[in-house]
Symmetry: C2
């Protein structure tokens, strides 16, 4: 799998200098990124495209080719695959569309491609996909990528790896992470997944520097393999799946030729395998930070700490509806908290007055997280004073020391939250609902891992 993300040499077949040539966008983008490797363009004229040296066929390329990206018309793909085989290429990405998603002729061509791949021991991604990218080594073979579009993704690589069946969703995720505290490690679009599928991806992302795996799926290629890989995974797997309804499944089918899957069965299997099912498409980019910035949530008792009274009630409802408790603190703990400064309510939710010092915040964070009365913290703090930001900046360390998470929500407008993320790298969520959901996701994953350990120890 590594050749798909770290090829020493890359050939783009079908890249030329004709107007609107999609292969050329790859050549231009990889030249722009200054990826460290050899790249070649294969086209009828043998012309160079951007920094990619041109050849009229794969056979002509003097050195070895680690990875071939095919962007020729569909009917030529079988022949190109054959040439890849003869050249000894073991990793191919077929970005061309027009196979199973386009009727019988396409299906026949697909069978032909599959046979050739088996014959030559080629592993391939696609067809009908966008390709792969690796933010850490500045590699990308997404067609259509424009120089300058994702600079921040490459300038600030992260630890979340994505499997996306569709380019549009990948772009949305990368765009959204630009104003978040986490970022992309690798991304791959697997399209019709005739060979490499979601199970292979989970296994591979368990071997590299990935911390969280996010998946946007329009179908499951092989349910059993997928669930086995998910069960094996020692990293959280987040899945958003389309095709929960018949209309959604039908739309997905015409898009990437997936088969409809029974959603109830899929849902039950996810629960068993510890796969986190995203409720909203945005959870693919909003949830990873609860894993990368905070310890896991090991119990159900949450303390709310707010400087905006109304949010005590709002988040109490949300927490209880999400299966948590908001326990009244012991008198002893209440007394200690009351001693830190002027507070309106110390029972839980803890509701504080508007004029507190940074030390008071830190004291309350520490008292709550160190106590054995609660398992996690939901700070809902309006940052109308710089002191609030300063205190929140230190919360991560306290959480780490106490091995308990805090899910931060700042009840200000979205613009402000995005700014706090960018300027201070504050891992804040965009709404109280999102912050509570993050606790739920953390708790679900912790429980699932526990269960897996028990099962393993029984075997």
């Amino acid at each position: 799998m590594d050749a798909f993300f770290n090829p020493r040499s890359l050939a783009v077949i079908g890249a030329s200098n004709k107007a609107f040539n999609l292969g050329a966008t790859i050549c231009r983008f990889i030249s722009y990124l200054k990826y460290d490797g050899e790249f070649y363009a294969v086209n009828r004229k043998g012309e160079n495209v951007a920094d990619c040296k041109g050849y009229t066929s794969l056979a002509e390329i003097p050195g070895e080719v680690d990875l071939a990206v095919i962007l020729t018309p569909a009917h030529v793909v079988p022949q190109v695959m054959e040439e890849c085989g003869h050249k000894g290429i073991k990793a191919v990405i077929i970005e061309t569309a027009g196979f199973n998603e386009e009727g019988e002729a396409g299906q026949q061509m697909q069978q032909e491609v599959n046979r050739i791949a088996r014959e030559h021991g080629i592993r391939f991604i696609g067809p009908n996909c966008l390709g792969t990218m690796n933010a850490h080594n500045r590699f990308c073979c997404f067609f259509g990528a424009q120089p300058g579009m994702y600079d921040s993704v490459y300038d600030d690589p992260g630890t979340i790896s994505y499997v996306i069946q569709s380019g549009g969703v990948g772009v949305l995720i990368m765009d959204s992470l630009v104003s978040d505290v986490v970022n992309v490690n690798k991304m791959m679009s697997i399209g019709n997944k005739e060979d490499i599928d979601e199970a292979d991806c989970i296994d591979y992302f368990n071997t590299d520097n990935t911390e969280v795996i996010g998946m946007y799926l329009e179908s499951i290629h092989n349910g059993t393999r997928f669930m086995e890989a998910a069960r094996r995974s020692s990293k959280p797997v987040l899945v958003y799946k389309v095709g929960r309804t018949e209309a959604g499944a039908q739309a997905a089918m015409s898009h990437t030729a997936g088969m409809a899957n029974n959603d109830v069965i899929f849902d039950a299997a996810c629960r068993q395998a510890g796969v986190i099912r995203c409720n909203d498409i945005s959870e693919l980019h909003s949830m990873p930070k609860i894993f990368t910035t905070m310890p896991l949530l090991k119990g159900n008792r949450i303390a709310i700490f707010t400087n905006s009274g109304a949010f005590g009630g709002i988040t109490s409802d949300l927490l209880v509806e999400a299966g948590f408790t908001v326990p009244t603190l012991s008198e002893e703990l209440q007394k200690k908290i009351a001693e830190t400064g002027k507070l309106y309510n110390v029972e839980n939710p803890i509701d504080m007055g508007p004029t507190l010092s940074k030390e008071t915040f830190i004291d309350i964070f520490t008292l709550l997280l160190e106590s054995n009365e609660i398992d996690g913290l939901l700070p809902v703090l309006n940052v109308w004073q710089p002191v609030v930001i300063e205190a929140l900046m230190e919360l991560g360390e306290i959480c780490k020391a106490c091995d308990k998470p805090a899910s931060i929500y700042v009840p200000n407008a979205v613009d402000r939250i995005l700014q706090l993320r960018r300027e201070y790298r504050l891992p804040g969520f965009l709404s109280p609902e999102e912050a509570v959901r993050a606790l739920q996701v953390s708790r679900f994953y912790y429980n699932a891992q526990k269960k897996k350990e028990q099962v393993t120890s029984l075997v």
Copy 2:
């Protein structure tokens, strides 16, 4: 009620030049806003505060006083109310806290205040509230407001009026609307609502330039009155209610002394009265634009029109889960749509290629909205080309002409959507979930109004 939003003269009782005086923040803010009226400050020294002329008592003020705002300590409030009565003031806002929410002594004081109000025919808002604001005439008596904080709210007044039991939520709403296409008309925080309650507010906002009423409630003062007012309302009423769970109700009680209400009963009553219940607190500011910018949704058949294949599947699922259908278009209509340009799929979702002209967009919008096969449109259009923005800018007019709504989602990052709203006033939603929810809300309201009409015509 008008005196609360358009007073010719205002007295702030308890405003002085002492440090941290809350009344003074009102005097300073109203001076900053250059509100057209007389304003007075009442304090022990009779000193002026900002542009408010100082007096030692209400009786001393030479002219009439339309509205009194009380921000004295709680134990003085009964006496001040008595003085208001003698001065002939009929509208009072008691912003001071420390009544029912603070035990028995507070409750007794409240009874006293209520008796005095009745005796003198005073209508009052509060206690324990933030007060009122009217963006159109630049009036505000919220304590704590800082000059410059809400310039855009006053510079660009709107037609949404809010009732908020808590200041924090009001601030969040105003902040959030800064980057939306709608804006605030009036806002009022009614606190413990010992006299004026949510029912009065609904009735009043049915007499002014309000188009949509938004309410954040921690309790319902009088269920029957509330539901009757909601039923009478000819404008959409959106409600977010805290206290759905016991923990939430308890937190709300300590905040504004509300009584817990049975949520199942409340929910059923809302359905009957046509009250839109918000699922998320953000719906209070995200949903109004579907009413102010688009016709109501009169049926369940939605067409999806996208340039990002994956979103056809994502939104099909969401629409079906929300009770809509995504009908396959007739062959005749499909043929007409196919003739407009290169399209991948014309059945519904309509999935278009990346290289279309503005005219093609307009043609497809018009074909869909004019057909009798669909009732509303869900455009999910990535605005990576200026032509897409230009086309979307004309969609509102087509919707108006066809009397059908479109709920716009642009599958780009949040920053980009906010920018499109600010620069182009594009009424886009922040997620596919939000866009689908807006259609649901519009449909619910249309149905509820229809039912009310039928009931009325039977009587």
